[in-house]
């Protein structure tokens, strides 16, 4: 074996040299023989003729020896040439198989390029599998809770499971940045501990990351720029390090020194454009609130925790230790240990969230579709193999070994797969942009999707796998040594190889099984999306224009100025034509996903205790103007709306949602009940004032679309937080009214402008994006697979009819009706179809659980969906069997018998 390999490799180095040597060797022989003949007394001419005759076929021998001595690139080249010639004789067939495989390979490549860009690429962090997010979670409500600055310090000091711990603030904190004399612009930021970048193992592109002294309460302000911010607003200039930039956060604007720039692939937390140490920012917040500094540091639970596991820790051991730690500080933090835990999540799950599951599920689905395509093509090759049996037998008889025959057949498969890969990559290139455009917006890093090297390598690997999968079985079957005997023995038509028939039926069953799995997934996604679309959101998103007003805080620095301004602005909007109502709210629905303002509360007469903490859920706090509910179409169920009498000096009132009332005062009338919400930045030690419930509105969905929270609405003038979003209900298409709104805004105050103008319809549509995307893609794959399987089944039954036409003729001559032979042929298709569907059903039941994270209000084994899919596929299979089976009825018995 090795010797053969060496000979081949030696042959690599010069086909021509080999040919010349063999030539020389044999010519030498002939000439020596000629000389010997001359010595025997013949004339030179005679001598040469005699020598040649004695040799017996110089040219043939030359060919044989040259072939033997030749290296494998030559053999491959000849195989390829022969394969090309062979394939060229069946252009339609070859074209069809290339197209089918190209669709499969192209879809896989496109899907993989997305997965590569989003999930697989490194994101500038060391060993992400050792990083965990640290949350508190209450069993009362599914939301996770954040940590305070003090908890972070305690965690860092008192636990051993982590190499180090950091915190990061959520991205809805922002700062308004002015560069030089330029326009100020709002920039989302994350307030982080000094340890943040070190824990992640992230290194800056320029400059440095934070040092411990940057996190001191009175440290000079510093920040680190994101790559995007740096290229967009600072011209990508490395000399920006050390420069100063004016940023306004809570307090009056102050200069920040730029100490670093992060590289492009770093994007944690998602959406942050700059990072700044949390300590100084918190101390500014405390100053503004004019309350004790400690309150802010100890009780403001707004940070996500992040830890790097120590080398000898696991997630579970770290979780156990942190829960022990929680026991120690529970009293201090006023946490009810019976219902609150610390939970650790691997960082990858947090960053990608549901997108990861969706992408991996889709990648799995596209592989299944490719499988169907391959099995389909294998079936086609098998069928066509019948017509090549004679050719193969002859070549085997002429001396081609089994290995040689298989090699040549695989060369054909390889060429087809190569062509399919090229076409497939082309398809992927063309459709990739569309696919990315249709993708839900919440998938990070999607914009980096490209057909780069890893993707192309993947395409090649797929093509190789396809070659093997598609070509191996038919090649092995066609090159089998017993072929010649079978051909000799078989009479035409009646006895066809049972192995081939069984294989073809098995291939059909496999296709249908895989198709069923895909179509079930598609059906579940369709069902989910339909339920989501029918969902009562609690508000009416139609005809609502919404936007944020730029530079509002800059123009109106004091709270009362802002309140006056917004109320005036809203009444001016309401006077415009086509405007039904105008209002404003702190955070409109679905703006930041789960991020928002959570308030805890105490009922009148309750004191803070474990019972109160257990009984009272966290509330979603919103500050609103009087026009808000009308503008959003939120129904007022009981009591009254907020209105002009609710000012800073009037008694504190709130409006609650139906769900909140039902949870907190089940069976009672909530009007008149009183509570106090504890917002920490409330000013010094006094208990918060009691608020009276004056109205109940319908439950609307604010944070996640899948589940409502318990909403508490506070009149603007009595609220801590300002309103951020304006909502305007129009009587015609909102975008047509937008220019009038913009004009009114400008005429009110030309320094203001509307930002992010969109409609609630668009926002809702975007929020439903992930479910819609999954539905579309799974349906597409399912449809393609179904089409392939149906065509394969059709071909199988058509073939059976053709093969067995003699038998059919016999039956009809013996008295069978046309109907019964048609039914006989239908059964030929129905049997493998039924087997396939049964296997597919089983496979689906087992694997559908994978999808449960992607579904909405439906279980992965939803009986209605499964029934529907089975009926659909069954019908398709019957149809695909019936159409060709009808031809059986038109068989003329006499002709068929004569043809034997």
């Amino acid at each position: 074996m090795l010797a053969r390999l060496i000979a081949y490799v030696r042959g690599l180095a010069g086909r021509h040299r080999i040919a010349a040597e063999v030539d020389d060797e044999l010519q030498f022989h002939v000439e020596m023989e000629t000389v010997a003949n001359v010595d025997k007394g013949m004339s030179p001419a005679e001598a040469r003729q005699m020598a040649l005759r004695d040799f017996g076929g110089v040219t043939q021998t030359k060919e044989v020896v040259r072939d033997l001595r030749r290296g494998w690139p030559d053999a491959v080249q000849q195989d390829v040439r022969y394969a090309l010639r062979r394939l060229g004789r069946d252009p339609w067939f070859v074209g069809t198989t290339i197209l089918i495989l190209a669709v499969g390979i192209g879809a896989c490549t496109a899907m993989f390029s997305i997965v590569q860009a989003v999930l697989l690429r490194p994101f500038g962090v060391d060993a992400p599998d050792r990083l965990v997010m640290v949350w508190t979670r209450s069993t009362q409500h599914s939301a996770v809770g954040e940590l305070s600055y003090k908890t972070y310090r305690d965690l860092r000091a008192r636990t051993r499971s982590f190499d180090d711990v950091a915190i990061l603030g959520s991205v809805n904190w922002s700062g308004t940045m002015s560069i030089g004399a330029g326009e100020p612009f709002r920039v989302p930021c994350s307030a982080v501990s000094a340890t943040f970048f070190d824990v992640l193992g992230a290194r800056p592109l320029h400059g440095r990351t934070f040092r411990p002294q940057d996190d001191e309460r009175s440290a000079p302000r510093v920040l680190i720029l994101s790559h995007a911010l740096w290229t967009q607003h600072f011209g990508g200039d490395p000399k920006v390090i050390g420069r100063s930039v004016i940023v306004r956060e809570e307090a009056p604007a102050e200069p920040f020194e730029i100490v670093g720039v992060m590289p492009a692939e770093f994007f944690f937390p998602r959406g942050a454009q700059y990072w700044t140490p949390a300590g100084p920012r918190l101390s500014r917040m405390a100053q503004r609130a004019r309350g004790p500094m400690d309150d802010v540091f100890n009780r403001l639970n707004v940070f996500y925790g992040l830890g790097r596991l120590a080398p000898d820790s696991t997630i579970s051991s770290a979780a156990a230790e942190t829960n022990v730690f929680l026991n120690q500080i529970a009293e201090e933090l006023k946490i009810d240990r019976a219902t609150t835990d610390i939970v650790l999540t691997p960082i990858v799950d947090h960053i990608f969230g549901r997108a990861r599951l969706a992408l991996l599920a889709l990648l799995g689905a596209v592989f299944v579709m490719l499988l169907v395509a391959c099995v389909n093509v294998a079936g086609l090759l098998f069928a066509r193999g019948a017509s090549r049996m004679r050719e193969m037998a002859v070549r085997a008889a002429l001396g081609a070994g089994r290995y040689v025959l298989m090699r040549q057949l695989m060369a054909e498969s390889a060429l087809v797969a190569l062509a399919a890969m090229i076409v497939g990559v082309g398809i992927a290139a063309l459709t990739l942009d569309t696919l990315v455009a249709l993708s839900p917006a919440d998938i990070p890093r999607l914009d980096a999707t490209a057909l780069d090297r890893p993707v192309l390598l993947f395409a090649i690997a797929i093509a190789v796998a396809t070659t093997l999968l598609v070509g191996l079985a038919p090649a092995a079957h066609l090159s089998r040594p017993s072929l010649a005997d079978e051909l000799k023995g078989a009479a035409s038509g009646v006895a066809h190889s049972s192995v081939r028939a069984r294989t073809r039926r098995g291939l059909i069953a496999a296709q249908l099984a895989a198709t069923l799995v895909l179509v079930v997934a598609a059906g579940l996604c369709m069902n989910s999306f339909a339920r989501l679309a029918r969902l009562d959101l609690g508000f009416d998103p139609g005809n609502v224009l919404t936007f944020h007003i730029n530079r509002f805080e800059t123009r109106y620095p004091s709270r009362s100025q802002r309140h006056d301004a917004i109320e005036q602005l809203l009444s001016r909007f309401e006077r415009l034509p086509h405007v039904a109502a105008a209002g404003a709210v702190f955070q409109r629905p679905f703006e930041h996903g789960p991020i928002g303002v959570d308030s805890s509360f105490l009922l009148e007469g309750q004191v803070e205790s474990p019972e109160s903490r257990a009984r009272n859920p966290m509330l979603n706090s919103e500050s609103v103007t009087s026009g808000y509910f009308r503008s959003m179409g939120i129904r007022l169920v009981r009591g009254r709306n907020v209105d002009a009498r609710d000012t800073e000096n009037s008694p504190r009132v709130v409006i609650v949602s139906e769900a909140m009332a039902a949870r907190v005062w089940p069976g009672e009338d909530p009007i008149g009940k009183r509570l106090r919400t504890s917002e920490v930045v409330d000013g010094g030690g006094r208990p918060a004032p009691l608020q009276t419930v004056v109205g109940v509105v319908a439950t609307a969905r604010y944070r996640e679309i899948e589940s409502p929270r318990f909403d508490l609405y506070v009149p603007l003038r009595q609220a801590e937080s300002d309103v951020q979003h304006v909502t305007v209900r129009t009587t015609i298409d909102p975008l047509l009214v937008a220019p009038a709104i913009a004009a009114e805004l400008a005429s009110f105050d030309k320094a203001l402008s509307a930002d992010g103008v969109t409609t609630m319809d668009e926002i809702v549509r975007r929020t439903r994006g992930p479910w819609r995307f999954n539905m579309l893609v799974f349906s597409l794959f399912g449809a393609v697979a179904l089409a392939l399987a149906a065509v394969g089944l059709f071909a199988l039954v058509a073939y059976e009819v053709m093969q067995r036409s003699r038998e059919i003729g016999l039956r009809m001559a013996l008295g069978a009706t046309r109907g019964s032979v048609v039914r006989l042929m239908i059964v030929q298709g129905a049997k493998p179809a039924a087997v396939g569907l049964a296997i597919g059903l089983l496979a689906s039941l087992l694997t559908a659980r994978v999808l449960s994270g992607l579904l909405f209000e439906i279980t992965p084994t939803d009986p209605a969906t499964f029934t529907g899919v089975l009926v659909l596929l069954g019908a398709v299979a019957l149809l695909a069997s019936y159409v060709p089976a009808r031809r059986a009825a038109s068989v003329d018995p006499q002709e068929a018998l004569r043809d034997s």
Partner: protein
């Protein structure tokens, strides 16, 4: 003299033996088979050259191109130690085989 087509196995054996007498090229081997068998055997060149190549692949002989008497290059084959061992083994096998046949043919 009729050409007796030798089976591939026996041709290999004869070639090895000829080469045991000294390195040679294809023509020389073919000649010697004729000579030594006193014209009883003649290897067809269509079998001889492929056989030589197969022996080389198996490592029983090695070869190289050399300059020669006329201005054609010739490939000179030499027996290897492995080939020598194979020759000894196959000779024994063949002689036993021939003896058995002889006994049967001359049985009473």
């Amino acid at each position: 003299m009729p050409k007796t087509d030798l089976l591939q196995g026996t041709l290999d054996l004869l070639v090895l033996k000829i080469l045991a007498l000294g390195p040679n090229h294809g023509w020389g081997i073919s000649n010697r088979i004729r000579q030594i068998s006193r014209e009883g055997l003649q290897a067809s060149q269509g079998s001889l050259y492929p056989a030589l190549h197969r022996l080389e692949i198996r490592g029983d002989v090695e070869s190289e191109m050399t300059a020669s008497e006329n201005n054609r290059r010739a490939r000179l084959y030499t027996l290897t130690p492995k080939g020598r061992r194979r020759l000894a083994a196959e000779t024994t096998t063949w002689e036993r085989f021939a003896l058995s046949i002889h006994r049967i043919l001359h049985a009473e």
